[in-house]
Amino acid sequence: AQSVAQPEDQVNVAEGNPLTVKCTYSVSGNPYLFWYVQYPNRGLQFLLKYITGDNLVKGSYGFEAEFNKSQTSFHLKKPSALVSDSALYFCASAGGYNKLIFGAGTRLAVHP
């Protein structure tokens, strides 16, 4: 069965420091992986996706993610965190019929 795991409930980072939000996946076949962000009282916003090609994927708001097949990981990264990056982040994989399977979510808190 397809699944996505986000091992950290919360990640705390100081503003200006690099951030990493972890995601591991378990899928059969080629993985189609996504990151979404949810700000308070708002819907999900698409950040980036990996379908095929370069393992380093660049997305919105300066975020990037690295696909690592051997470690079955797709960690979200940003070189320099902003307070405004504080939000709930979801990793997801796309299975059959375009259904998205979401991880549990990681709350990112960036402190001034």
Partner: protein, 114 residues
């Protein structure tokens, strides 16, 4: 991309009543999805709604409880029937509107059942 609106944005309902949530998209899309996000939880897919066919429900969700309409390529409704406090959640619609599996989400409907 696609711009998606949902009505209502939030509601407080009494146990045993029903609420219909509307989802409007600014472009024609084939696939629409309805998700539930329970308090402090991740998103769970309720059903897939394609125009011109019956909605396909995920395990644990049934048509009698969550009837869905998809009358055209830009609109869908989800009804939460005979509500109980356990139905208190955020309900989100999404559409497949980008190249290769890219889904866009509406702002969500925050439902509280008393």
């Amino acid at each position: 991309s696609a711009v998606i609106s949902q009505k209502p944005s939030r509601d407080i309902c009494q146990r045993g009543t029903s609420l219909t949530i509307q989802c409007q998209v600014d472009s024609q899309v084939t696939m629409m999805f309805w998700y539930r996000q329970q308090p402090g939880q991740s998103l769970t897919l309720i059903a897939t709604a394609n125009q011109g066919s019956e909605a396909t429900y995920e395990s644990g969700f049934v048509i009698d409880k969550f009837p869905i309409s998809r009358p055209n390529l830009t609109f869908s409704t989800l009804t939460v029937s005979n509500m109980s406090p356990e139905d208190s959640s955020i309900y989100l619609c999404s559409v497949l509107a980008g190249p290769l599996y890219e889904q866009f989400f509406g702002p969500g409907t925050r439902l509280t059942v008393l």
